[in-house]
Amino acid sequence: MVAYVIPGSIRQKLPGLFFPVLIFSLLLSRPCLLLAQESPYIVTYDHYLEEPGSLEVEYFSTFGTQRDGNDFHAFWTELEYGATAWWTTELYLDGQTTFHDSTVFTGFRWENRFRLLQREHLVNPVFYIEYEQISGADKIRKEVEGHDVESDYAASNAVLRKQRDHELETKLLLSSTFKGWNVAVNPIVTKNFLPSEPWEFAYAIGASRPLALKARPNRCNFCRENFVAGVEMYGGLGDAQSAGLHDTSHYLAPVVAWNLPSDWTLRVSSGFGLNDNSHRLLLHWGLSREFSGFGEIVGRFFGGRP
């Protein structure tokens, strides 16, 4: 019904408006805030999960250059909830604007991460499983899999949207922290639910470190302890029918996170394509805020214990 009330030009922009509206509604309902100590990675995962009962609301953007096509700005919202100290669950809502083309909602993802060991070890494994229902027009490029190459995204949104992907993605997140350094390695395996589609492989690796290891006694915005810098590299490794590096794309990205005492975290990552199959530039940036005690607040709303 909405389709007939709202003029076409505005309707086209609705998916783009959805994310800011959602984020601002959540930010305005201000429960208790907690300073996050976020890693700077955009693609790679370390082994740290969301604190139990906390909700992290995140908005991310990807600006990508496109040879033989139009550059794009993809955006996504993440709602990340710490169900327990060993389980984090996350909902993604994706969209994108391709310049000189259109803005489209491209689908959703539901991600779960499970900590496998109770205590810290030299290498800490976390099992990651994600269900995604997205269209071929999804360009957030949060992961690069199989034989994903730049030319896959050159077509218009109208053409790309016809392709629907129902995929199950699994990752083993291996991560280690030593002397302030975090090193994370994520082997990735993805399966499209279509029987004809083969298993796809990918990788993401990252290393990062806070600029200062000791905290200052006073609250400060620009002190070095608030910044975490690093680098990540990610790309495809082919699929079960033709594994290897041929017809794959790879990126190297310096990353930085700024954890502000005012509870915001800003992340920037500039991914440079490493071969001719890669976009020349994938610029990611994101803003997030953590709300602790969110689970209790919603629980009370539904008549739980005071």
Binding site: A3, Y48, L49, Q118
Partner: protein, 159 residues
Amino acid sequence: MKASLALLRRERRIGVATIGIGVLGMSLFGIARALAQNEDMVEHKNEKSTYAALAEAPEKARERTNPFEGDRRAMAAGGKLFEQHCAECHGPKAGGTRKGPSLLREEVQQATPGTLFWILTNGVVRRGMPVWSKLPEPERWQIVTFLQSLKVSSKNDQP
């Protein structure tokens, strides 16, 4: 006519997808909430055993000394870090909340700095305390310095 039908179908698909996401989100939240409440109940029943986690620290970890022992700046920095990362569960004055135990209790105050550092690093994941190894080692020691500066209080001081 054909175009309007196609548009109608598209809108219906978007509607179904939206409801689907909503139902999915609600069920997810329900499961998470049930699990979290279950953990809370276990915690209340076994409050004493929460402190038992302190005894699980290996000998080598217990014997570690605090490099910032008595350092006032480290104590203040630890207080700031405590407020940012720990107060939500353990209370602003470390007296405990429904989510986390009091750190003023004798069991904690008499624990060695190494034991507190070990607990901070490894968390008590099965009881809901996350690992805090994401904080650099000196920052964890600063928190330990702050915890040791808190006065020992009796069980009556519990909120």
